[in-house]
């Protein structure tokens, strides 16, 4: 296994692992935090943690579960930091008053970086609760099973299954054609 080889000192194995998982990991982070800058920071943080903890790696499960468990923890830390920043903002702070409920990563300038929001499906994905979005992304980007998603996100299998079920139900609605606002038949005139 590549991670075992990297753990034992083979740096080429790291390059291969990186090339294989960088896309799914980046999209998972980007679509979770919905801000390119924050996603880039988290992306680097995930790989740094992987490097730092490689000595403790044991090949008990798929490497993706190990990598995305780190990524899950990084995003949890990110959302906690963001929540703490919002909660500790002083009430007399002009910025806090102007945008009291909107976290930094969801402000218009941050979302502007996230150009993907143009598609209906990705817009619906962005509107999902974070846990449901994560379950969907983990399955789509890595092919993890329900059991593996449960392990990565530190929840029970039924919880993971429920999250994924709600996610796909909401997302499927975005695939339906939008109803036509005024569907009255056109009048035809005969001359």
């Amino acid at each position: 296994m590549l991670m075992v080889r990297y753990r034992d000192g083979d740096s080429d194995a790291f390059s291969t692992l990186y090339a294989r998982h960088k896309g799914p990991l980046y999209r998972y982070l980007l679509r979770q935090v919905r801000n390119a800058g924050a996603a880039a920071d988290l992306f680097q943080d995930v790989w740094s943690r992987l490097v730092a903890t490689r000595g403790r790696y044991e090949a008990r499960a798929k490497f993706a579960t190990y990598l995305f468990h780190i990524a899950h923890n990084c995003t949890i830390d990110f959302f906690r930091r963001d929540l703490k920043m919002r909660n500790t903002a002083r009430p007399d702070d002009a910025d806090a008053l102007s945008e009291p409920e909107v976290p930094e990563y969801q402000r218009p300038d941050g979302i502007a970086e996230f150009a993907e929001q143009q598609s209906a499906l990705l817009a619906a994905l962005g509107a999902l609760p974070r846990e449901q979005r994560e379950a969907f992304l983990l399955h789509e980007e890595t092919g993890l099973t329900i059991e593996e998603i449960a392990r990565v996100t530190d929840v029970g299998v039924e919880t993971a299954k429920s999250r994924l079920r709600y996610a796909i139900r909401k997302l499927k609605k975005s695939l339906l054609p939008a109803p036509i606002p005024d569907a009255r038949p056109l009048r035809t005139r005969t001359i």
Binding site: S11, F14, K22, Y166, I168, L175
Partner: protein, 164 residues
Amino acid sequence: MEPADDLDEYLRGDSALSRQYRKESAPTPPHALDRRVLGSPRAAHGNPPWLAPLAFAASVLLSVALVLAIVFGPQTAKRVDDAPRLVRVAAHSDTLTNPALDRKHHLYSSDPKSARAPADWLADIAALRRAGRNREAEAELRRFHSTYPDYSTGDLALRPGSRP
């Protein structure tokens, strides 16, 4: 609640939802980010995990060896009469070898002879004689007399093994 069939169909990977998702753009990390991750020294060079404990063990071993050398090393067997000679000559090397500095010292010091007590100086001279360094002893004695012209030394400083 969504029927179980939809979830099963979705998990098989052939649902319309999955197909649509795969059609969406698939952004990848910028090249600068690739370089930052792959350029990380620890990632690039991949130090083997056994290197850290080995380095730690080597450090401990070196520290223990150093302590043992200090405690049981040859310094403890050093002759007693070597110590004052080495320390005191070094401490006063400026005034002994550089007359300009010596004069300067006399100009700016409130007590010109406080730099070296006569008894200590004579003891050093005696130690030089006992060590067989007679030429240095003679030079030191001449400097002593120039510094303390009125101090009577007799022959205390000249006899090997004598104490002033």
